[in-house]
């Protein structure tokens, strides 16, 4: 007896991911298109995609589509440092802009102030807003950044695909008063404070990206793992 169609369809898509027809970071055809192509019900497609998401091969973003997952960055980079809660799928499509580095980001990212940066701002939500994220990426280092679906994949995931991967990060955590914009976007009352986490990602030559996270502090904690440095004493 044949396997149920959703399992067969899952294997078909899995094969296409494996052979590169659907490559990492790319968007799959819509559920409806897949259903039409194979003459199955959209529910069958949905079930197959859900299984692939469970296996970690796809990222499903409600209202946007299915994306082939990027391989995870180096475990070491993932595990150490401040870790933020992931925030689930409620990402609105965020627009990537171009801007000049200006005096401040030029210093932070070791570029000329006339150089161009990609800039993106978004709010990551679970049931309620978790944090606002502001991203500054050196354009000449990641020229195709806007096409890599930066609103679907995390920056570290995207940068892990580059030829010169991230080799080190520096992070700074402060508490600051929420500006009016942060209050509005995170739905916080006036007078609230937020955790401000600033992170710089470096490849071997220097800084690639700078990120600022404003985290609501009512029920969020940042976690850190640390270890005794072998040279300490």
């Amino acid at each position: 007896m044949n396997k149920p169609y959703y399992l067969q369809l899952k294997e078909v898509i899995q094969e296409k991911i494996k052979d590169g027809t659907y490559s990492p970071g790319k968007e799959l055809p819509s559920e409806r298109q897949i259903a039409q192509r194979y003459g199955v019900h959209p529910h069958t497609t949905r079930a197959a995609l859900k299984l692939l998401e469970k296996d970690g091969l796809l990222q499903l973003v409600p209202g946007r589509g299915a994306f082939v997952n990027l391989p995870s960055p180096d475990e070491n980079m993932k595990e150490l440092g401040f870790t933020l809660p992931e925030g689930k799928k409620k990402r609105k499509k965020a627009k990537v802009h171009l801007r000049l580095a200006g005096p401040y980001y030029a210093k932070i990212l070791h570029v000329e102030s006339q150089e161009e940066l990609y800039y993106m701002k978004r709010v990551v939500k679970e049931k309620k807003p978790l944090y606002m994220e502001e991203l500054f990426v050196v354009k000449k280092k990641v020229p195709d950044f806007p096409e890599l679906h930066p609103d679907v994949f995390s920056l570290s995931n995207i940068l892990a695909q580059k030829e010169a991967p991230i080799s080190r990060t520096a992070q700074l955590l402060k508490i600051c008063d929420a500006s009016k914009e942060v209050q509005r976007r995170l739905k916080l009352p006036a007078g609230s404070v937020v955790l401000l986490l600033e992170r710089t990602d470096y490849d071997r030559e220097g800084p690639v990206a700078f990120t600022r996270y404003y985290l609501q502090s009512e029920d969020l904690a940042v976690e850190v793992k640390f270890r005794k440095s072998p040279t300490g004493e």
Partner: protein, 241 residues
């Protein structure tokens, strides 16, 4: 893709952030008067004040009515990667550390402590509450819990002058790694009085467990740090180290 136009207040904010970053204005320096800056940047007072408000929110400046705006850099920046004790940290930076013991007593392990310190209910635990004073300013209140079964001599050490970690190491502890959770709390009346801040002021709340090389917990601690003068840093190691 078209370039995004920055607002006038954003340009000023970033210029001032660059000035602070590059130390062309230093900690405690007064910034140029609003009048001078209005002329320098060619903007209105409202635009300037928007930039100042943003910088104040992020703790980069503070403003004194009828006097001006002053640069405020975070002074206590601790790197969390290395498991460096406050004693070592302050020595490295030539900061004077003074410790006052607020509470020192033997308590019985409750359920929470049995889990954190891998003990059985009712085991004797040494509880130590210390005020840590950096260069004359109370900077944090630290609460430590250590198993007395494992470190029976810990109670007889003068922990106002001796380092707790060093004493534990001398008793055979091999500090190895730890986990920490950082969140925001609000000062209780008692804490606020000690810090001389209004009650309910926001503060960092740190909670961590430190383990030895065998994976056994050595210490459970939590501490409260007023936020104005505190930041935490975490720099990953270089690949080739």
């Amino acid at each position: 893709m078209k370039q995004m136009e920055l607002m006038a207040w954003q340009l000023i904010k970033e210029q001032l952030m660059a000035d602070i970053l590059t130390d062309s204005v230093k900690d405690g320096d007064r910034l140029e008067s609003e009048r001078t800056m209005m002329r320098r940047f060619g903007v209105t007072r409202d635009t300037l004040r928007r930039a100042f408000e943003e910088l104040r929110n992020e703790g980069l400046i503070y403003s004194v009515p009828a006097s001006g705006h002053y640069v405020a850099k975070n002074k206590n920046i601790r790197n969390l990667r290395d498991l460096q004790s406050l004693t070592e940290w302050s020595l490295d930076r030539d900061i004077h550390l003074e410790t006052k013991i607020l509470t020192k007593q033997v308590i019985e392990a409750d359920k929470g402590l049995t889990k954190r310190l891998h003990l059985t209910l009712g085991s004797p635990v040494f509880y130590l509450q210390r005020l840590r004073i950096l260069d004359g300013r109370l900077s944090l209140i630290e609460n430590s819990y250590i198993s007395l079964t494992r470190f029976p001599g810990i109670g007889s050490i003068n922990l106002e002058s001796e380092s707790l970690y060093q004493s534990m190491e001398e008793m055979g502890a091999h500090f190895s790694y730890g986990e920490e959770e950082i969140s925001v709390t609000h000062l209780t009346q008692e804490e606020a009085d000690l810090f001389e801040l209004p009650a309910d002021s926001p503060a960092f709340f740190l909670r961590s467990i430190v383990y030895d090389t065998a994976g056994e917990p050595l210490e459970y601690l939590y501490s409260v740090h007023p936020y104005k003068f505190q930041a935490f840093r975490y720099d990953s190691e270089d690949d080739d180290e």
